[in-house]
Symmetry: C2
Subunit: 162 residues, 2 copies
C-alpha cells in the first residue's frame, strides 16, 4: 500500500527543548504553558475554535529515531507491544495530546498542560468534545497499577535520536 | 517545511461502504461492529493490547476529496472554521476515533462503536486511558446546543469524492 503524505499546519513551541525531563503525559505537564504557531495559510480554519476549552493535537514526533514493535515503557520494566503503550517509537511517529486552549491571537494559540517537545510539527487540531470523546467502565490492561506513575515519571533519551 | 510520510499499518473494515448514511461520531455508530486487519509485519506490536477495553484509532481519510478551511458541519447551518469541527475535509485528512476492542485473533481486531468507512487505512493504535485522556469542565463552543444531534445525524456526500 502506498505512502501517505501530510504537510505540517504549524509548529508547537514548548519549554521542553530535549526529551530528558519532558513529562510523559499531561498529568506530568499540568500547568506547563506553550504556544502553537499556525502557518498563515491555515489561519482561517481557526474560526470558532476559541469557544472550546480543550483541543486534540495530532503531531509528528520528529525527534524520535526508533521504530520498535516491543518497547520498555517509562512506567514499567517489561517489554510491551508498542500499540499497547504511548511510547513515541511506533511504526508511524504520530503523537496525540489533549491540551487546554487559553487564548487565540491571530495565528498564535496559547495552550496549557503540555507533554510535547519544543519545535514539534503540528498536523491537525480537533475540538475535544466530552460527549463523543470519553468512555466509561474502561479496562487499561498492564497500566492498571501504573497510571499513578504518569504524574511523576519524566522521559529520558531512550526513544530519541542522540 | 517538508512533507511527512507515513505507511499504513493495517486496514479498517466496517459495514459502511459509502459516506452517505455513515454515523458522524461513535454515538451514532454505537454497537456497530467492524474488524481491523493489521499487516503481518506489525502484529508483534499488538502484544498486551487485549487488556484494554478501548483504543484510539488514527487513520487516513482516504475517500475525502476536499480541503476546506471553513465548512458547514453536518449538525449546523453556519460556516465554521474546520479546526473547530470534526469534518473530514481538513488540510490533513487524518481521522481520530475511540472504539471498543472486543477481541484480538492473530492480526484481526474485532472492534465496536464504529463511525469509520470500510477499507480505511489505519496509521496508529493507542490505548485509551481515562486517567490521561479525559478532561472535566469543558467548554464546547458552537457545539453546545448541537451535541445531542451527534446521535441521530448521518453523513452525506458533501466532503467526499464522487
Amino acid at each position: 500500500m502506498k505512502e501517505i503524505t501530510f504537510q505540517p499546519i504549524g509548529i508547537i513551541h514548548s519549554p521542553f527543548k530535549r526529551p530528558e525531563g519532558t513529562p510523559i503525559q499531561f498529568v506530568g505537564g499540568k500547568n506547563i504553558r506553550g504556544t502553537i504557531e499556525i502557518f498563515p495559510q491555515y489561519v482561517e480554519g481557526l474560526k470558532d475554535l476559541e469557544g472550546f476549552s480543550h483541543i486534540f493535537l495530532i503531531y509528528y514526533l520528529n525527534r524520535v529515531s526508533k521504530r520498535s514493535l516491543v518497547v520498555k515503557p517509562y512506567m514499567d520494566d517489561k517489554l510491551r507491544g508498542v500499540f499497547a503503550t504511548r511510547s513515541p517509537s511506533r511504526p508511524n511517529h504520530i503523537g496525540l495530546s489533549i491540551v487546554r486552549l487559553i487564548k487565540i491571537s491571530k495565528n498564535q494559540l496559547e495552550i496549557q498542560d503540555l507533554d510535547i517537545l519544543d519545535a514539534t510539527p503540528l498536523l491537525d487540531i480537533k475540538p475535544y468534545v466530552p460527549e463523543v470523546d470519553t468512555r466509561e467502565n474502561c479496562k487499561i490492561g498492564w497500566m492498571k497499577d501504573k497510571v499513578g506513575k504518569f504524574k511523576s515519571t519524566l522521559a529520558d533519551k531512550r526513544f530519541h535520536a542522540p
